[in-house]
């Protein structure tokens, strides 16, 4: 487990989780997180993120496989692990009628080496809300209180289950800053998120979960690099796909059409885009809705989800792919 280079703080081997009704939420996953690393678990709703994190937090025992956190089984050796971990569940878990300060006092009394309440309040920006009852906090404030409690004991390992869900853009940015600062100090962080830009911005490494399995893992760059770039546009009136130059000569590795919209995939974005635009220029047509982008984590994620769904359901998801893509929000990196 321990190597000279890398101390594995979280070590997960062939882990499965099966719920009472027989539903297998986690279907054999293996990964590890080194000390000081920020590891993100990505996935759609129902992919098994929370089911996995709960196992790491020691809230349940896996149906099969082995989990080690700081060298201990987090479920059976709770007492050895808990003083060194901080947890933020997906949903709060605070009595509504306690004030923010009372909630922190309760947790401080149950946490080894707790930070002073004022420090925690300051870290999560709730200083002015300390006398407010929890039920009167906004959703975002509750998330920040939860984060504050997770940080209370200066944990070596931090589990954050969708830490920014329900936060506005500014609150999310603040949380990112805080998580980055903690990582700078050497805290190991395992977080789940369905915001891909969050994983891209924060994670050293990540794994994409799909239907309880790891569909892809690596650094954000590695996961992204495995995906082709995309060009999409509307075919001008009176033109057909066959009027384009031979796609293989443009370096296109795959294409899809949906109505008049054409989507091309390529490993050589610059060459393909140049050739396409030169063709349009010569033909004197405007390519409406032209969208040229190198692969982002979001693209990768959608492709992987799509591929896995197609694999498990045995049906083509081509049209859906184009529609999903046009809803995408990732920034354009390449323009011709």
């Amino acid at each position: 487990m321990n190597t000279d280079e890398r101390e594995e703080v979280i070590d997960v081997t062939d882990v499965r989780r099966v719920y009472g009704g027989g539903f297998e939420a986690v279907r054999g996953i293996t990964f590890s997180v080194g000390r000081g690393e920020l590891f993100a678990l990505l996935g759609t709703n129902g992919a098994g993120k929370t089911s996995t994190v709960e196992l790491l937090e020691g809230l349940a025992a896996p149906a099969a496989g082995r989990i080690r956190v700081l060298g201990h089984d987090p479920h059976t050796e709770r007492a050895a692990v808990r003083p060194r971990t901080g947890v933020m569940l997906q949903e709060g878990g605070f009595p509504n009628e306690l004030t923010v300060a009372e909630t922190i006092r309760l947790w401080a009394g149950c946490t080894s080496g707790a930070r002073p309440a004022t420090e925690v309040l300051d870290m999560v920006g709730l200083t002015r809300r300390s006398t407010i009852r929890v039920k009167q906090l906004s959703g975002g404030e509750k998330r920040r209180l939860d984060l504050g409690l997770a940080l209370l004991g200066r944990p070596e390992v931090l589990f954050l289950d969708e830490p920014t869900t329900g936060l506005d853009a500014e609150g999310r940015r603040d949380t990112w800053d805080l998580v980055r600062a903690l990582r700078e100090e050497g805290t190991t962080v395992l977080m789940t998120t369905h915001y891909l830009e969050e994983a891209e911005a924060l994670a050293d490494r990540l794994a994409i979960l799909h239907e309880g399995r790891i569909a892809a893992s690596g650094t954000p760059a590695e996961v992204t690099a495995a995906q082709p770039s995309r060009i999409s546009f509307e075919l001008p009136e009176g033109f057909f796909l066959g009027d384009l130059p031979p796609l293989a000569e443009l370096g296109v590795t795959g294409h899809e059409t949906s109505g008049r919209t054409v989507l091309l995939r390529t490993e050589e974005l610059q060459r393909t885009a140049t050739a396409l635009l030169l063709w349009a220029d010569r033909a004197g047509v405007a390519l409406r809705g032209l969208d040229v982008r190198s692969a982002s984590l979001e693209e990768a994620f959608l492709r992987i989800a799509e591929r896995e769904t197609a694999r498990s359901q045995g049906e083509s998801a081509g049209h859906e792919a184009v529609n999903t893509r046009s809803n995408g929000t990732s920034t354009e990196r390449a323009a011709a």
Binding site: P83, G92, L106, S112, G125
Partner: protein, 298 residues
């Protein structure tokens, strides 16, 4: 917004404190981090009593803030026994060798078990589960038993305080002599409180919501009121019925408490009561361990 700036400085503060706490790597970092604790618990590590106290304190705050719980927990057990007094006057207690004082006192203590402890804890356990408080607490350093005990502590103290209060009240108002066998009364009180708590945890686990928990709690309340000697002394019931009733979960506790004041419980009867109570406590604690629900029922 102020939020932004304060969180920003917070992140910086995190860096400073961590840096000044003497290293952040490895297991040996713990000692120094512990040394920087808020000081309340000293030494950095938490202790079981410390954790229990923190949780019980929060629960006490919540108890005081929930008016409906206060009413059932405090007023009902104090008012009910006196409402059954007219009924008791109808029964020929003397024929059974009973006097009104110990009968009324045991009723009051029995109602304390049921309302100050049992029903209010059914609500509390169900509410904390549905609010995800129990799940959240389980991610921390508290052991499962500490979570249950700490949550139950304020209600247990209420029950205990009421019992002492009615004992003093009955002694003064009904000229009740000092109990000839106080150890039996104490034993009865403790078994009753422990069992009421464990049964409350189980009942909460059978309830889907806080509202339905109040209904789920009713059967045990009725069975205990009628069959455990709280409203009607078991002595006045037909022998076969009372023999069965003595096996109900809260019957031995009531019998021991009464025995403490009458001094008329034989060694064999005492042993029998302790055995029945012990059986129920072991069974209930085992069942809680096995079936208590920490996550909401969805």
């Amino acid at each position: 917004m102020s939020t932004h700036t304060s969180m920003g400085t917070g992140a910086a503060a995190a860096g400073r404190t961590r840096g000044s706490s003497g290293g952040d790597s490895g297991h040996d970092g713990r000692g120094s981090r512990g040394g920087r604790s808020g000081g309340r618990l000293g030494g950095g590590g938490t202790t079981s009593p410390g954790r229990l106290r923190a949780l019980a304190r929060a629960e006490l705050t919540l108890l005081i803030r929930t008016k409906s719980v206060i009413v059932t927990a405090v007023l009902v057990p104090l008012a009910l026994p006196f409402s059954i007094r007219p009924a008791l006057d109808e029964v020929d207690l003397k024929a059974q060798g009973l006097t009104i004082g110990p009968v009324l006192l045991t009723s009051a203590i029995g109602f304390s078990f049921l309302f100050a402890v049992y029903t209010s804890l059914v609500t509390v356990f169900a509410a904390r589960r549905e609010e995800l408080v129990l799940k959240r607490l389980r991610t921390g350093e508290l052991k499962d038993a500490e979570i249950l005990a700490g949550t139950a502590l304020p209600a247990l103290c209420t029950g205990l305080a009421q019992s002492v209060l009615v004992a003093v009240g009955c002694t003064v108002l009904l000229d009740l002599p000092a109990p000839p066998a106080p150890h039996l009364a104490v034993l009865g009180l403790l078994t009753g409180l422990v069992l009421s708590t464990a049964l409350a945890a189980l009942t909460a686990s059978l309830s889907r919501t806080v509202e339905s928990a109040q209904v789920t709690a009713l059967p045990l309340v009725f069975v205990s009121m009628l069959g455990s000697g709280m409203t009607v002394p078991l002595e006045v019931l037909p022998e076969k019925v009372s023999a069965v009733c003595e096996l109900l979960p809260l019957s031995p506790a009531i019998r021991l408490v009464r025995g403490g004041w009458t001094g008329e419980l034989s060694g064999y009867e005492t042993l029998e009561s302790v055995a029945v109570a012990g059986f129920w406590i072991v069974l209930a604690l085992w069942a809680v361990r096995r079936w208590f629900r920490w996550d909401p029922r969805r």
